[in-house]
Each structure stands twice: as C-alpha cells, then as structure tokens.
C-alpha cells in the first residue's frame, strides 16, 4: 500500500513514517504542501494523510487540487484545530475522515484500514477478518475457504460489520442499509439476523459483540 504523508512537524512526521512502515505501508513524506501536491500528481498513491496546517500550500488547498484530479483517493486529514467550522471545511473539501492531534497511532491505523477497506470494496476487492473473507463484488463470503449461504439482509449486515470492524455499527445504520432490501419472512428484528450470523461464522475466528442499546461490533478473536 502506497501512502503519502504530508506533515511539516519533523518529529511527528518521522515517528508516523516509522509506525506506518511498521504497519506495512510504503510511505512517501512531504514536508510542505507544494511537495505533497507534486508527489500526489506524479506518483499514484493508495491513500493520503494530510496535515491541514502545511507551509507553502495548506492542506485544504492540496486536497482541493487532488479532488479535481482524483475524486476517489481516500484522504484522512490530520489537524490540531477541531472547531466545528474546521471540521466542516475539511469534510466539504472532500476529506474522507478527520483525526485530531494528538492521536493514538492505533486509532489512526484503524481509520486508515477502514478507509482502505471501503475503497477496496468500491473496487470489488476481497476483505478479510480472521478466517472470514468477503467478496464485495460477488456478495459472497467464506469461512476458512468454505463458502457460506447468506440471505440478502444477512450479507448486508455482515458486510457492514466487516467494513467497520472494531467499531460499533448502530441499529440505525443497519436499518438504513436494509431499507432497499425487502425480505420475506425476515421480520425487522436485527437480533434474529445477528443470531443467524453468529451461528454461520462460529468457526471464523470473529466475534459479533452486542453493544447494549446501540448496536453491534465485529472484532477478530484474539488468537
């Protein structure tokens, strides 16, 4: 995975580059906005991490120029400013996610992976958690290489949980994802579908947790 990191603070950039390389990314570092813009234009990247307060050309401008060329590239903004206006401006300029400094590296990594999964899903690529693999294009799932039978709603729910693994999927989100899938005899009870999914994935090395009053969370079981 090729990642562009645009960050002007040398200490932070150095640490982030090291950690990202450790997580398996090929990192290109840009110390200012102009270099970031140049690298983004010349070398194809899989994902970009942009600081908002860059010298020469600020992060928002880099993002706007990038969006004009590549509307699809996943971008995470890093920023020290977290007022509502700053967030809105960043998201309106086309950022996919937003991380406020100082952050925990695992959180940044989780967000990067979530964005990459979403981007892969758009491209019809497979995702994998534990021994569970999903083919977004074919809407099929395998446990340890063995295909499992899933109804439309079961598939949508599982796909949602996998995309957001480690995060809570709310009941609202599930209902919204189901809204264009009428299923006969299924009823509306999410619990029923979750119960069926748990049974079908019991040997997949994943755990679907119930989060009281909110929704569900899929995590890989500790090996």
């Amino acid at each position: 995975m090729k990642l562009l990191l645009a960050e002007d603070d040398a200490l932070l950039a150095d640490a982030l580059s090291t950690q990202l390389r450790g997580a398996g990314f090929q990192v290109a570092h840009a110390p200012n906005g102009a270099v970031a813009d140049y690298l983004l234009e010349r070398e194809p990247q899989d994902i970009a991490v942009l600081d908002l307060g860059l010298p020469m050309l600020d992060g928002l401008s880099v993002l706007q120029k990038l969006r004009a060329r590549q509307p699809e590239l996943p971008v995470i903004l890093l920023t020290a400013r977290d007022s509502l206006n700053d967030r809105v401006a960043g998201l309106q300029a086309g950022a996919d996610d937003y991380v406020t400094k100082p952050f925990d590296f695992p959180e940044l990594l989780a967000r990067l992976q979530a964005l990459l999964r979403r981007s892969q899903r758009r491209q019809g690529m497979a995702s994998q958690v534990g021994r569970l693999s999903l083919d977004e294009g074919a809407r099929r799932a395998w446990v340890a290489g063995e295909s499992i039978e899933l109804s439309g709603r079961e598939w949508t729910l599982l796909s949602l949980l996998v995309q957001q693994q480690g995060k809570v999927v709310t009941k609202e989100q599930i209902h919204a994802a189901w809204s264009d899938e009428a299923e006969v005899g299924g009823g509306n009870a999410i619990e029923v579908y979750v119960h069926r999914l748990r049974r079908k994935t019991d040997r997949a090395g994943v755990n679907i947790r119930t989060v009281r009053g909110i929704g569900y969370l899929l995590e890989a079981e500790a090996s």
């Binding site: 603070d9 200490l11 932070l12 150095d14 640490a15 020290a80 007022s83 509502l84 999410i190 009053g213």
Partner: protein, 490 residues
C-alpha cells in the same frame, strides 16, 4: 501548579470610582426655575407697591373731593363763619360706619371749629400754600370710644382763605380715612395679580420639566441600550436621532466596543494557534515514545519510556481539556453556532465511538435498552460540539474511575420540558461530601488514572452556559450517576 489559563473574567457590576453627582435633570430644573422664582418674587413686590400707589391716589382724590365739599359749606360772614352743614350731608360723610370719614375744620389753623375728630395737623401747617391739598399719614389719638386704639389714617389737608378782609384769615379743612381699608384694597389687588402669575409659574415649571425630560431621553435610551445587552454583545450602539453631544459619547463607546471585539477575536485566534502549537509537538512526542516502546528490550528503560509516554498522553489530554474550557468561556461560546440537535442521537453516536476503548479497558459501555423501539429524538438547542465534549468527559471519567469490569450506562430521556442525560456506572462512586468539590477545576477524585482534574469543571461550565444543571448522585446499588439537565428546544 499554577493555573495555566487566565481566570474566567467575571463580568461584575462594579460602581464607578468617585460618587455619582447631582442628576443632570435636577440641575437643569434648578437653574431654569430659580431665576423664575426670583422674578416671581420681584414681580410680587413691585406689583404690591404699584397697587398701593394707585389705591393711595384714588383715596387721596376722594379725600380731596370730600374736603373741598366740606369747605364749600363754610361761608365767611364778616368776622364769623357760617356753617351750613346739614344733617344729610353729615350722614353722607359718615355713611360707612366701618370706614368712617373723619373731618376737622380749624380756623385759624389749629383752633378747632368743627369736626367729629381732632385730626393731627400737618407739619408746617402755618405756611401751607392756599388751595393746594397736602396728603399725609397719621393716627388718631386714642381717646375716642369708637376708636379705642390708635388708628392709622390717611389725611388730606386743605388750607383756604376766609373772606377778602384786610387781614385775611385762613382755615384748615382736614378729612381723613382709616388706612386699614386702603391696605385691604391693595392686598386684594396683589392677590388678584399674583394668582394668575403663580399659575403661570407652575405651568412654566411643568413645561420646563417636560422639555428637560424630552431633551434627556436619548441619554436614557443610550443607558437602556448599554444596560440591556448581553456581556458578549459587542455590536456598535445604535443611536438614530441623538443630539450632537450624545453622538460623540456614543461614538467613543463604539470605538471602545470595537477595540474589545478585536481583543476577543485575538483571544480566539490565540486559542486556535495554541491548539496547533501545542498539539502537533505532543503528537510527535507520543508517536516517538510509542515507537521506542516497541523496540526497547531493557526493562528499566522500558519503565522510564512508559512514564514518558504516559506523561505525553496526559499533557495531550490536558491541552484538549483546557482548549475546551477556553471555548466554553462565555465570550467565545456566544460567538459560536447554536443549533437544534437530537441529544439522543448525539449520545448514541458518541457512545458508539467510545465503545472500542471501553472494550480495551474491559468495561461494558452501553445505552439504556429501548426494547428495539425506534429511539425518540430529544431536541435541544446549543453548541453540539461543546455538549458532545461535556458528555464525552462524563464517559471518560467513568472509564477512568469506575474500575475493571465496570458497567457504564448512558441514557437520554425527556421529563416535562427538560432533556435529561445520565451517565451511571457501578464503580466506587464519589462520597456525598466530596461531590461539590469534584466539580471544581483541577480537583481529582482519586490519584489513580490519567485525569487532569478538569473533566467535571468543564462539564459544568458547558452545561450551565446552556441553561442546564449538572448533578451527582449515588447509582443503585453502588457507583456514580451524573445527570445533565438541559432545557428542551422549543
């Protein structure tokens, strides 16, 4: 540790230095009405004198006429005098018993011939020019039954020649009238003049007072404008139709307001800059120690590094809290957007976001089960980001203090016209006597954990700025329940 941020500027009513002077309206009234009063008094005195002058003239004329008539009744015959003074004429002269006409005829002057009263002689009566009347004041000698006490008199004296003899003798005719009547008349005239004058003064006073009030009303409006505004409203004062004098005062005030506004803006920019300046290096420090921790094998060094990392994490947390607190100050809060939002949905999304951290800490974070029913929105109005920060602080606190395996539950519901959000845990709780102190800045309930002691202070600051309250109570069977009570949006 000293407080790293400026104390909250408390907007208190502080009296001006020095003492409040006399009211402008009163001063104007005094300076306009005092001269009026003086003029009124002088007018009274002048008109009294004028009136008595006219009254004297009129009385003197009547006295003269009476004395001439009396003189006509006396005809010289040879050496004697013929007195033709019929009773009828006498009655006419003495018609009014309360204002009796007194008369004396003497000839030669000083030698009483006729009269009902001996009247005091004028000065120098021997040389009084013939036929010319002399008027003077005197008083009756107090020996009469009618006039037991001396009575002030106005007297007319007329000296006339008697016959044309070789040695012409003269006679003096004196007619007098009591002065009491005359003074009464003068007083009556005075009263008749002063009454309308006083009414005029009263009317003028009212007019002047109304004029002063009208003239000073822009000042009153200015005061209301300044008094009635929120401490954060720094918009220029609007004075549509103010007199020139006030105009300059309002302009000076507006200049000051603009300067304060610019100060507030600078402070806000400072908050943003401070955020950037502090957060970026802290992020670097945190990341660097994280890497170092991964590669170090020496256990002693590892302990040191863990301390550094913990300290960096705590500093980062503190910076975040301080910035939130600064944003919750009234000056900056009002400048930020207030919008209507669904508190229940916000709480759900926030809780969902914090669940992974709770799982890592082996805690069960969730919301009140609503039996699968569609969650009812709870609309409140305010700065969503700040209220979210407040709730986030409450859950953070619970995660810090509730302890391993604890259950933390967030719930939102409406009661009457209030929205109520509760965060309860089944941890150790806070003893009742320490609860109030727990909401002060930099006071921590316990010494464990990473808290900087700002959490509850921030929560209270934010919630109170939104017209709400924060209360701490015991959870059942044990633990802490923090309740935020906010007004529902209309």
């Amino acid at each position: 540790m000293s407080l790293p941020i400026a104390p909250t500027p408390q907007l208190q009513m502080r009296p001006l230095d020095g003492q409040a002077g006399v009211s402008l309206a009163r001063q104007l009234l005094l300076w306009l009405l005092l001269p009026q009063l003086v003029v009124w008094l002088a007018g009274g005195v002048a008109s009294y004198r004028l009136a008595s002058g006219y009254v004297n003239q009129a009385i003197d004329a009547s006295l003269l006429q009476a004395s001439k008539a009396l003189a006509r009744q006396l005809k010289p015959i040879g050496n004697g005098l013929l007195i033709d003074f019929p009773k009828a004429a006498q009655d006419i002269l003495e018609a009014d018993p309360s204002d009796r006409l007194l008369y004396t005829v003497s000839s030669p002057p000083g030698q009483f011939i006729l009269g009902n009263q001996s009247l005091p002689l004028p000065e120098n009566f021997e040389n009084l020019p013939l036929g010319e009347p002399q008027f003077y004041s005197g008083s009756t000698p107090a020996r009469d039954a009618h006039t037991p006490s001396p009575q002030a008199l106005r007297i007319a004296a007329l000296r006339l020649s008697l016959g044309d003899g070789p040695q012409p003798s003269t006679m003096l005719v004196q007619v007098a009238r009591s002065s009491a009547n005359r003074e009464e008349l003068a007083q009556k005239i005075l009263v008749d003049m002063l009454l309308p004058m006083s009414a005029l003064v009263l009317l003028l006073t009212l007019l002047v007072w109304a004029g002063i009030r009208a003239g000073l009303s822009p000042l009153h409006r200015l005061r209301l404008q300044v008094e009635g505004r929120a401490p954060t409203d720094l918009a220029p004062l609007q004075l549509a139709s103010a007199p020139r004098e006030l105009w300059s005062l309002a302009n000076a005030l507006n200049t000051l307001l603009a300067a304060v506004q610019s100060n507030v803006n600078t402070q806000k920019r400072f908050i943003g800059d401070a955020a950037h300046q502090l957060r970026t290096p802290l992020a670097g420090l945190k990341s660097q120690t994280e890497i170092a921790l991964q590669s170090v094998s020496d256990p002693a060094l590892r302990v040191r590094l863990e301390r550094v990392h913990e300290s960096a994490t705590r500093s980062a947390h503190l910076v975040n809290q301080l910035l939130t607190l600064a944003r919750a100050e009234p000056e900056s809060l009002m400048a930020q957007d207030r919008q209507r939002f669904d508190l229940a949905r916000m709480a759900r999304l926030l809780t969902a976001e914090l669940v992974p951290r709770a799982l890592k800490l082996n805690m069960d974070l969730g919301m009140d089960e609503d039996d699968g029913a569609v969650a009812q929105p709870v609309w409140v109005e305010g700065n969503e980001l700040l209220i979210r920060e407040a709730v986030s602080n409450l859950i953070d606190n619970a995660l810090y203090y509730a302890g391993d395996g604890a259950q933390i539950t967030v719930s939102v519901h409406c009661t009457g016209r209030r929205a109520r959000l509760c965060v309860s845990d089944n941890g150790p709780g806070i003893p009742a006597p320490e609860r109030e102190r727990a909401m002060e800045r930099f006071v921590r309930g316990t010494d464990i954990g990473n808290g900087c002691g700002l959490g509850l202070a921030i929560v209270r600051e934010i919630i109170e700025r939104h017209g709400g309250t924060v209360s701490l109570a015991d959870a059942i069977p044990h633990g802490l329940q923090v309740t935020l009570d906010l007004p529902l949006a209309v």
